[in-house]
């Protein structure tokens, strides 16, 4: 899966909330090679400010060479991107990194928080190609209802069981996504696939260790190149002796391979 650069036309732009939007772009070459958990680097503006590309998970791949990203406005780069219109072209580099690995031996727990839910939809779809919906549980957490209701529908539409919690209680249980994990039966062998804010990931990894579940985490760092060239995306290894690089060794890691600080 060599990385490719493409000026991808925006085919559709959905505004899920005030600050979350979903773009569907025409990027056949990149889409063809993409696997769940991989990401793309997107240029935020034509000028030099902001300078660097921004990383986004591949949210979904659709027939006809379509690729989706789910984008939350954080700062000026995502702000500029969120204003892009259907018909304009996004400068996309990808697919990048190592995605999730999955097989049919496990029960699959997809655990996402906030915008971290983005790569899990693609993952669910791929797992379902060889597995029954009953082998998958989706556990989602968010700050409030509007942040995830569209996504909950998307998972449910695949016939999956989705458990939801929100911090303000506006959808599902009030609480954190780890609260949804605790009461789960100790199905084994199980694989947890998780993506979300760092404190959530750390908590999820803690629960997995308690339950003796294998766990893959998708990590975020600031990135300059996404191509393993700048070495900017370093994360401490589990043995505390040196670093792994999120854009090349990840973004998906076995939870046991990285240090949890």
């Amino acid at each position: 899966m060599p990385a490719l650069q493409q000026k991808a036309e925006i085919i559709r732009s959905e505004k899920l909330t005030d600050d979350i939007c979903r773009f569907t772009v025409q990027a056949p070459d990149i889409a063809a090679d993409s696997r769940p958990g991989q990401f793309v680097m997107v240029r935020a503006a034509e000028g030099m400010d902001p300078l660097l590309r921004r990383p986004f998970s591949i949210h979904q791949v659709r027939d006809g060479g379509l690729l989706q990203i789910l984008l939350k406005v954080i700062g000026k780069g995502t702000q500029a991107l969120s204003k892009m219109q259907v018909g304009q072209h996004m400068d996309i580099l990808g697919p990048l990194g190592r995605g999730f690995t999955y097989n049919s031996k496990h029960h699959h727990y997809l655990v996402g928080g906030g915008i971290g839910i983005a790569p899990l939809l693609f993952l669910a779809k791929q797992i379902l190609k060889k597995n029954e919906p009953s082998t998958i549980n989706v556990l989602l957490g968010a700050r409030a209802k509007d942040e995830i209701c569209t996504l909950v529908d998307d998972f449910a539409g695949m016939g999956l069981e989705v458990k939801v919690c929100t911090e303000d209680g506006s959808l599902g249980k009030q609480g954190l996504v780890t609260d949804l994990m605790a009461p789960l039966p100790d199905e084994n062998p199980a694989m947890v696939y998780t993506c979300g804010p760092y404190p959530m990931l750390r908590a999820v990894v803690g629960v997995c260790r308690d339950k003796n579940w294998a766990c893959q985490v998708s990590l975020e760092t600031i990135m300059a190149c996404g191509l393993a060239a700048c070495l900017g995306c370093a994360v401490l290894r589990a043995d505390m002796n040196g670093y792994v690089h999120v854009c090349k060794d990840g973004p998906v890691f076995n939870a046991d391979d990285v240090a949890w600080l």
Partner: protein, 308 residues
């Protein structure tokens, strides 16, 4: 009589390049990382990430921060070390026709000498670029590149052990860069390349702490281009060895500015991250410029702004 096929060849000492466009050390990995995005065989030269005798882990994260039209990095010279470079990275580069330039760094003159000695044995290594300027490493105190005597000593050490061209890469964090350039010319450098990154920093006002774990980092990208161009001009006024211009080059126009200021060749750094095809586009665009201005050879541009 219109120029149809302008001559893009340039020389750095005994090294002949098909065009003046190189990749800057640390921004192009070991070449392989960009193989699917750029035709590596089209490049003037490939300069790889700086290599030290032993592997280095580099600095803790956060290692990069974005700034206005630039970025800060404090990678801390993470690299695989000489042996793994030779066994794991060199084989891929052997198959690329483009000349390979290896960027080297060390803590002592002896480190540099040992690197030069071993790399001299590898025919594929067409030249060395000696990084005497990295501002990120805390060890050893003052950087070699900020003192003419130290810069002279390193250059001389490498010169003794490496038979092909030696390029010394200068630090911009000095009062008088021409003084350093003169010192390394005198010590036998075949060329100088400049500039390395400018020392800078950024603070996260929410955490109240520096954004980089290392506090300071090197500023690169379009923001530093005017500084780099001025230094190339100053060095060109003072030395007679070829100059390789580096700093914020993103377009063919930028590259031409450096040649007009006195550079014989240029390196593309940070721009590789933003536009991986930039080197190819710059080579192409320089050719177009020569044709449009009816200039037969790219060598005719070198230093032209200083003579008009």
């Amino acid at each position: 009589m219109a120029v149809e096929q302008p001559d893009m060849k340039i020389s750095i000492g005994s090294l002949r390049l098909k065009n003046p466009v190189m990749t800057a050390s640390g921004t192009f990995g070991y070449g392989e990382e960009y193989a699917s995005l750029v035709n590596l065989n089209l490049l003037g030269a490939i300069i790889v990430k700086g290599i030290s005798l032993l592997p280095r882990k580099g600095n803790p994260p956060t290692r990069i921060a974005e700034t206005a039209c630039g970025m800060l990095n404090a990678i801390g010279l993470e690299n695989v070390g000489l042996e793994r470079f030779l066994s794991e990275k060199l084989p891929f580069l052997q198959d690329i026709s483009t000349p390979l330039i290896v960027n080297i760094l060390g803590d002592t003159v002896e480190d540099y000498q040992q690197l030069a000695k071993r790399l001299n044995e590898e025919e594929k290594v067409a030249a060395l670029e000696v990084n005497i300027s990295c501002p990120n490493v805390k060890q050893g105190g003052v950087a070699f590149g900020t003192d003419p005597h130290m810069a002279h000593a390193v250059t001389k050490g490498v010169r003794q052990h490496f038979k092909r061209p030696v390029i010394v890469k200068l630090s911009p964090n000095v009062t008088d860069i021409a003084e350093i350039a003169l010192a390394v010319e005198e010590a036998g450098a075949d060329a100088v390349s400049l500039i390395n990154t400018v020392l800078g920093m950024a603070i996260d006002i929410d955490s109240g702490k520096p954004k980089l774990a290392n506090i300071f980092g090197g500023l690169s990208g379009p923001a530093i281009k005017p500084i780099a161009l001025r230094m190339v001009w100053q060095v060109a006024e003072n030395v007679s060895i070829p100059i390789i211009g580096i700093g914020g080059i993103a377009t063919p126009e930028d590259a031409i500015e450096f040649l007009l200021a006195g550079a014989s060749a240029i390196q593309v750094g940070t721009t590789n991250f933003i536009n991986p095809k930039a080197t190819e586009e710059i080579i192409h665009g320089m050719g177009t410029y020569l044709r449009e201005h009816n200039i037969a050879s790219i060598r005719d541009l070198i230093g032209r702004a200083r003579h008009t």
